[in-house]
Subunit: 373 residues, 4 copies
């Protein structure tokens, strides 16, 4: 993978990583009302490196008046109106600057991330964006989010600079990045399963890779819609956005695959959280299960968040829910050619908020799993 | 029960029941977009007495233009845009009259039922209303629905005339009724469990009757709200409207109990459909389980929709879901005084659409369970 | 499809279909304790053609003494110990013969079906077997069920005679069959989606067909095991029997595909019932959605149980649960080559008991959907 | 509450609490295969006070040979056969003694706890027993567990000595206890809601207290049975053990109530974990909501694990699942007399393993919530 090979050459213009050994960085989150935002707030509040400087929480818009508290939005933060309230400030650039914020998590719609990230960077704040706004390099793919930029030249420059926040693939670049584009939940599950084999050139790409992915309902967001109604989702199962899910571009770019080499179909599972991807591949040449295992283990030997299941064990959603792990396993057909990869993760953690904190850990030079176990 | 005793004196001014042996009545439903409306449409379409004159379906408002079909609203009616479409007409009084409608089901909000039922009756159409608009006789209770009437005198007259559509209690009156107020889902489960013992005067009412009821999510309606979101309802359980649910008045009136003699607390179950009520009572004098069983059996000997579970069996939601049964069982403490009744029904069937069709059957002089097994 | 083409030549040695217009056939079911057996009993008891001769129910073994009733086994049949009890007789060949049974449904383990079906046939009883015992023609596939035969020659002869009970593919043969092997639940969903395109030779089979199937928990049977425990299945999702599910052979045989042309992976959904299969194919030559629709419609124009969803609609499990439909839809990529088929059915109905009754309807010369809508 | 008042007089014969400030105690768990045992292992392994001396895990019987690992039993401990394995030793008294175990958690069936606790105490090991073996003082109640004792006199003596492990009621006694009987899950939810009002003598006990409790399926244990089958529990709801649940005696004893003053009915919720109890009471004299709130707050002002919800908020299962909190709220009728308490807890945490660790914290003189937030 080209990106990986170049890692050692990356010049860093940001503060030396060691700085955050001595003191806690000032962090803030914009947008904590959604599921990922809530999980992000929870992770940051309990992060052992941040006890000295609790994160700030900001709403998505400036029209405040009514200050709220995390407890009002999320039951996991405690009884509304009682102890340990965490205030949510109205959004305000000066507040961010005055508070000396160094790291800004944006759990905002992609339009807002696209608009606000440049301003944050201009103010010297490093950004970890959880939306899709900065994930895709290529213009063609970029169009899927229908983004409009006030300053297209600047946006293009930042787009080029942005680092795809998958630490298992881009650890060194993330360390010094100013703008980290946190990956989509589905792509994380697919990319982590495929990267070792694709990078090693072991797959016969004349046989298209098929990614059949299934996600829990939290992936559809907190908005009350016909499709998130309990009566629609419970006892049901369905495919959606077939041939048209906007996460697909991340697969092409991160795995360096052409559009006819991989396809991805999402489905809606009647469970609160968790993604399982079943990925159908074909090996170029026959391999043993041991050889495949070795490739996977070597690739992830320094990646504590990816757990490999030894054959014949395969990961299940119950193994990873409420953790930041991505579990990967595989089954090899008797022909030693057809290979099915199964990967699982929690869409709100390794698929969103957990990976964002993992990126913060990398950016601060901390142990990657800090605050995530 | 006073109402029951007077039944034989009721004079009927409506058509003789025998008429509908010879021909199918013309029926219509206003409001088929909700869950109860959908079930009602399904039951009427498969009703063996209505094969000769399929029901008409009308939307809740006149501003049409866009005609829809049952298939667009409810997956149980088939593939949208394909065969066997059942048209939903825009609402229109003349259409109802021109179609010769004799029976009108109103699966409408109570404000609309309150406004439209008088017009339907004036046009000679008998009404089975599924809302709460006409259920309560007393002004105090009536206030819970915050109803306003264009013609208060007429509304009061119709309110007095309206029959509470619980066939097990008011069969004779329903037979000749012009306006049937179909009972609430919760009250049906509580009333059918308690009526035999209350009417026989067997309960010690100085000990308040406690009704702890639990309902599936379809009871909260089809509107997508924070509380019907899968992420809120799934894996959760909660009490709501404690001391304030508007179904409570039906218990007072139908069981002739004072407000300090019975209380009712609803809860939200993480299941699509079904209600279970656990009802705590105390007997005036010690009784045997056999004696209690006999009272219950005698009361319901002509009521095929109520099924009594022999002790020690108790009904469960799985026993009644997707049926029009109300299952009732009981457990008697060793002191032969404390008695717990458990009743179950499907909130969309015996708690709504099924009971409405049961009322139609009674009004037409047919076997009560026709089209409901 | 060779089988289909030869249909008109099949000679029937059984009774003329017209016989069952005049009178109800005598039917029996062995094995009603499982989920499929329970659904089968329900369907037969409400079948309009069988009201004159209710089916007999038999247990799986002769050691009786304790007679049971359907109500004891399945909540849907009513309150245990009360009205409308349906007796389950101990298994006994003479009882079957003395009762004049003409059609025997076997909802038994495949070992038992393999052992008993020859005896039933010898006694002149036509058999519809719901197990896997008689589905596979080829010895290699046959081995998956590890069957041992007391009379291998007879078993081989009957195996050759047995008709795969998919009416949409083998209607004419089923009509006169003595031994119908009711298809597996998963294969029904896959075969019905693929048959029109495979038979028309439209698929590029150098690209393996990938069948990613997901089933509700009832597919795992009524036995209480670690994997059917609520705590295992709820909020979870997993792949199982990867590259090794014994239903795979049915796909090879019925679709006339080689083992490297199709693969099938089952998954366990946290829902009671329903199967959805996502099937990845590639067309030999570019086609329009309209052309594909036409092929499908032509193939199923006389098959009321298969419902085609017009693009862009895709079937979901909620559309078919508790029906005997198999719903099929598709999505075509912009390249007009990559084609995803989605099919859904209820594993206990079209995937088991409903299809068995559909086969009875065909064998008796009745309308195919009789008693199934 | 008599027990509480005497607390200050209790003489402690055990080691001074301060000892465990300096060093970690040696702990062990017998029985980690069940749900509560698994949660207990998880809590102990992540307990900040135990990092210096990880707990030992023992199986329930001596016939070992096959050593297992936590990972084999519980998916939350990681991938079977890979990193961070926690060994489960065969049960062996000498192993416990040789390891210098000071605190023994018993997550064993009550028969085994009854047999083994005396031996552990004789060896100088303090015991926290999660079963029902030592909870009830009175012989009549004691009979519900059908316990037989090898040495009845010793058992009676230990029964008298055993402390009911509800820290909110018996904190001081627990601090010095040798044998702590960890409370039942249902009783914890009921006792914590009622204790403040009962102890203050505010309830009119001539009106029986009604406790309508609902629990998730993990409360039924890990054994695969007909009632823990997904097909039974999902989409269902039922009452069970009406007038006969063995947890009832804990309510009588801990709240000092007579059997005709309180009744308790358990129900099975279709969710993995969580208990909600709806508790119907009547006040002796009218009170305001503020006055009730004050009584509750004063009672729990030093009890961080009980969270009071301000009216009109009521706790829900989603608020407490996966925490060690017991949340309590109430609704007061307009008559200022009828009072409904609602309490929620996680049956595996505050209802079992979490409370056991809370007891360890108290016994070691640590902050009560240590390792539990």
């Amino acid at each position: 993978m080209a990106n990986l090979e170049m890692e050692s050459d990356v010049e860093t213009t940001t503060k030396p990583a060691g700085e955050y050994e001595a003191r806690a960085p000032r962090t803030a989150v914009i947008g904590v009302s959604g599921y990922a935002g809530g999980e992000l707030a929870r992770l940051l509040l309990q992060h052992p490196r941040l006890t000295g400087a609790l994160p700030c929480f900001l709403g998505r818009s400036g029209d405040s008046g009514t200050t709220t508290y995390l407890e009002e939005l999320h039951p996991q933060f405690g009884v509304p109106g009682t102890v340990q309230s965490h205030k949510i400030h109205p959004f305000d650039w000066d507040f961010l600057t005055d508070s000396g914020i160094e790291f800004l998590f944006m759990a905002t719609p992609h339009e807002q991330s696209r608009e606000w990230a440049p301003e944050a960077l201009a103010r010297g704040i490093r950004v970890i964006d959880l939306s899709g706004a900065w994930r895709l390099k290529e213009a063609g793919n970029h169009a899927v989010y229908k983004l409009t930029d006030a300053d297209p030249a600047l946006a293009a420059k930042l787009q080029a600079e942005a680092v795809y926040g998958c630490p298992e693939l881009h650890r060194a670049e993330i360390r010094s990045a100013r703008l980290v584009a946190n990956p989509g939940c589905y792509p994380t599950s697919v990319i982590l399963a495929l990267a070792p084999l694709v990078q090693a050139g072991l797959l016969d790409l004349s046989h298209e890779i098929i990614c059949d992915s299934k996600s829990g309902v939290s992936g559809a967001g907190k908005a009350a819609t016909a499709k998130t109604h309990f009566m629609y989702a419970a006892d049901n199962f369905s495919a959606y956005n077939v041939f048209g899910h906007r996460h697909t571009g991340e697969l092409f770019e991160q795995l360096h695959l052409a559009p006819d080499q991989i396809q991805f179909t999402p489905h809606l599972l009647p469970i609160p959280r968790g993604i399982l991807s079943t990925i159908y591949t074909r090996l170029k040449a026959p391999m043993t299960a041991e050889a495949i295992t070795k490739v996977m283990h070597d690739f992830y030997k320094n990646s504590p968040m990816v757990r490999l299941h030894p054959t014949p064990h395969l990961p299940q959603i119950q193994h990873i829910v409420r953790t930041n792990h991505c579990d990967v396993g595989f089954a090899l057909a008797k022909d030693s050619r057809r290979l099915i990869l199964v990967s699982c993760l929690d869409n709100l953690l390794k698929g969103a908020a957990g990976q964002a904190v993992q990126n913060l850990n990398v950016m601060c030079g901390w142990t990657e799993q800090e605050g995530l176990l």
